[in-house]
Amino acid sequence: MEFLTNSYVIELAWIVAKIMVVVGPLLIAVAYLTLAERRVIGFMQLRKGPNVVGPFGLFQPFADALKLMVKETILPAGANKVVFMLAPMLTFILALVAWAVIPFGEGLVIADINVGILYLFAISSLGVYGVIMAGWASNSKYAFLGALRSAAQMVSYEVSMGLVIINVLVCVGSLNLTAIVEAQRGMWFALPLLPMFLVFFISTLAETNRAPFDLPEGESELVAGYFVEYSSMSFALFFLGEYANMILMSGMTTVLFLGGWLPPFDIWPLNVVPGPIWFILKVMLLLFVFLWVRATTPRYRYDQLMRLGWKVFLPFSLIYVVLTSGFLLWTGNLPTVAG
């Protein structure tokens, strides 16, 4: 019995329980995001989308999951087997571990670390490895070209994302995500930093390889890009990872610009709604915009994509850092650094 009352064991069990509470609903959210995508785009294109399996097509994701699981996992003969299998796992793991620092409500966070935003930034910058390893290990020119495109694209947009984050940090004076949300009690950063909010959102589209920046997949020229050789569960892991990343990026945007779990106005009917509900609603709104953008915009050409990242977003967000910090210094509103 002494083993069970050991404080390490109890703490470990508690952490595992918290992780389960986050990861379980996350996977269900991923499943329903795929359904939402097909339904929303269907309606936007005057189609119905999947509506046959279960009421309103609600069981469609489970049917898809079952189909993927019973299919054969194919290892291409020329592939580098170890790296080939490692790549989808890495993508999926990275999409999950970042959730450790996202605050869902006041104190509702697995790890409330000091450098939360840096951790998020670090994990999201690793996503490129899954793609590049998959492309290389597949030993296929389509997959490799897709991976090269993706690597260049993700590295490019990370730079402007970093500068946008600096804008927010200058306003907050802390790297802690809970502190960032608390700093938005008076006004969400989406209003004073509106241009940065837009730049950040567009960069998250590029970072998650979503339309209109889905060149790594570019089915018209690269079949499916870096995961063209994958099948069955290894494909499903890429798929899950991509959608979990979309939700993660929406969560990150919510925390940085839309006030996390805070209600839009601190007045009676709104502030009795629990924080996590607000957080989820805001994430859902951003995810809808993800789908909306996919249904309505044509794909960028690759040189235009690079031009947008390096020649438009990077100088713009760099100048905005100077403007924001200059403005705060001039008005004497620079945050006093806590801790």
């Binding site: 390490y8 790296v83 000091n114 670090a122 690793l126 590049i132 690597a151 801790g339």
Partner: protein, 209 residues
């Protein structure tokens, strides 16, 4: 106890990965092991409470530098036999450099370099703030010089790789947006049956004019 366990795990994996970087036959494996080593170094930083440095290590080295390494290594057409042929030739030099590094490390640890230096007592100042306090005040000149060196390296890299090529058609977005319809499109009223003739004369007159 847990902390010691994690220390030996990070340190052990890091050493193993470091060894694999050197002895892997496939250079792509080498880079992947290098990334693993970086990760475990970040873990060690977290263990001594330097979480800011740990995150920067991951963002800068793993997220950016190693991606470019991997990029280059994957694109290179490497002849493995040729690469191993130089092994004998470079061995003495490699051993000499390694030996000097080991000697310096041993001298630093067992010498008097660390005498009187103790780890700063844990305070409630987060290490982001602690770094910021000295980086922009006490070490401002060194910091600026480091920035300048990076700038020089960047300009050097750009000027080495950029060259003007003739005959390349570039898209100038501003110019394209400035274009008006009447500069590019002409609506012609073509009588029935005369289409081919009219078009050819219009095209011919365009060419001359």
């Amino acid at each position: 106890m847990i902390e010691a366990l994690f220390f030996y795990m990070f340190a052990g994996v890091m050493l193993a990965a470091g060894t694999m970087v050197v002895i892997s036959r496939n250079p792509v494996y080498s880079v992947l092991f290098l990334i693993l080593a970086f990760f475990n170094a970040a873990g060690l930083f977290v263990l001594i409470g330097a979480e800011f440095i740990a995150m920067l290590l991951v963002v800068v080295y793993v997220g950016a530098v190693a991606v470019l390494f991997l990029f280059v290594v994957m694109m290179l057409d490497i002849n493995f036999a040729e690469m191993r042929a130089g092994f004998q030739k470079y061995l003495p030099l490699g051993l000499a450099v390694g030996g000097i590094l080991v000697f310096e490390l041993v001298a630093a640890v067992y010498g008097d370099a660390f005498d009187g230096v103790t780890l700063p007592a844990a305070t409630d100042i987060s290490n982001t703030r602690a770094l910021g306090n000295v980086l922009y005040t006490k070490y401002i000149y060194l910091f600026q010089v480091a920035g300048l060196i990076l700038l020089v390296a960047m300009i050097g890299a750009i000027s080495l790789t950029m060259r003007r090529r003739v005959g390349v058609r570039r898209q100038v977005i501003a110019e394209q947006n400035m274009r008006r319809r009447d500069e590019t499109v002409e609506v012609v009223d073509v009588p029935v049956g005369a289409a081919a003739r009219t078009i050819s004369t219009v095209v011919a007159s365009k060419r001359e004019g």
